[in-house]
Symmetry: C2
Subunit: 212 residues, 2 copies
């Protein structure tokens, strides 16, 4: 049976996955440079994986792509626009050949036509309920697992609903002060989870949550 | 010159130092057993220190008592009562011989007479401003450092005011979901701090914040 997994979601020491006021010229929100600092471990680990190196960060990063057949994300992760689409020229942050290579379901109150990209990535835009979208993603994954890509609000919704099987998050050694907290507004959903791993590399701390 | 230090403050993975509704029969607030779970590393490390053992947790724990000449705490850390003192029979959580053995300054809107305990601990109750209380504590420390003992609200106030030199906190691998967040409401105070250490033992992750 397909698992629902979250991987490589980076938060600051004070718990923020993104700052306030995300927008096109500041995809992680207000503040200079901290979006880069927050994800610097990710960039370094990506280079390590590409070079065939192993290590705590590279191993955790690579795990996130293994056996994933479909991805679900929030509209804010797909793009910086809010409200109705002014036009449909925006095709995501990732260029013509996005690094998914499978079906990606984008939760949005403003659906638009399905978008087929090079390399096998197809973006589906939907305002259906979580369970319906997850069902479609499981079908699309065809026996592989489904990844919830983010952002924080979407992960919270799936966690609160108890729909996530494994959540890997990464604590970066920095303070942001304000923005969007990942582990917040979880209600009783969190009672079903326990920490199964906590390990620190020279750069960050990796934490895994799994069902009790 | 005296430093102002915070040590061994334990927070959950989701950032809480205490739950909601702290009271006499639930000093860490609502919820069964998690106060014990949050601090289980502390109990084990205390036993290790007493037995002369070393290790990541024991070493961090012991550091918190080194070269400390005075302690500052909030009234909620001194006791579970709120509002005016019904009587003054409460003498803290720690019995007749508290583990401080120096002057302890308790921030409270409801001052009461100074309380001399066995073993050299003297509790002073004050509604003076942070800077005044810190000045008194520095004098009392007589060349040694001053420790801010807690709870979360008092640590936040000193951090926001930029008055803390070193902050050692401990992340326990558990979720609490609601309560009092330590790294919250810090305003621009946090801009003066950086993470100087992050290390994980088999039990917890230790993090140190210092001035930039």
């Amino acid at each position: 049976m397909s698992k629902v997994r979250v991987h490589n979601v980076t938060i600051s020491l004070d718990g923020f996955a993104a700052g306030a006021n995300q927008r096109l010229d500041a995809p992680f929100g207000d503040g200079v440079g901290w979006g880069d600092e927050l994800h610097s471990w990710f960039v370094a680990a990506t280079e390590d994986v590409a070079a065939g190196k192993t290590g705590i960060d590279a191993d955790h990063l690579a795990r996130g792509d293994r056996n994933i057949g479909a991805t679900i994300m929030g509209r804010n992760m797909f793009g910086p626009q809010r409200g109705p689409w002014a036009d449909e020229s925006w095709k995501g942050w990732w260029g013509d050949n996005p690094p998914y290579h499978h079906d990606v379901f984008v939760h949005t109150h403003h659906p638009r036509p399905t978008l087929e990209m090079a390399g096998g990535t197809t973006f589906h835009f939907t305002d259906e309920p979580l369970e319906t979208v997850l069902g479609r993603a499981v079908d699309a994954a065809d026996g592989q697992d489904v990844r919830i890509g983010g952002g924080a609000a979407v992960i919270q919704q799936y966690l609160r609903a108890g729909l996530i099987d494994e959540l890997h998050l990464v604590i970066a050694p920095m303070l942001i002060g304000r923005g969007e907290r990942l582990l917040d507004n979880l209600g009783d959903g969190i009672d079903g989870y326990r920490v199964s791993e906590m390990v620190t590399s020279p750069a960050v701390t990796h934490v895994a949550l799994v069902r009790r």
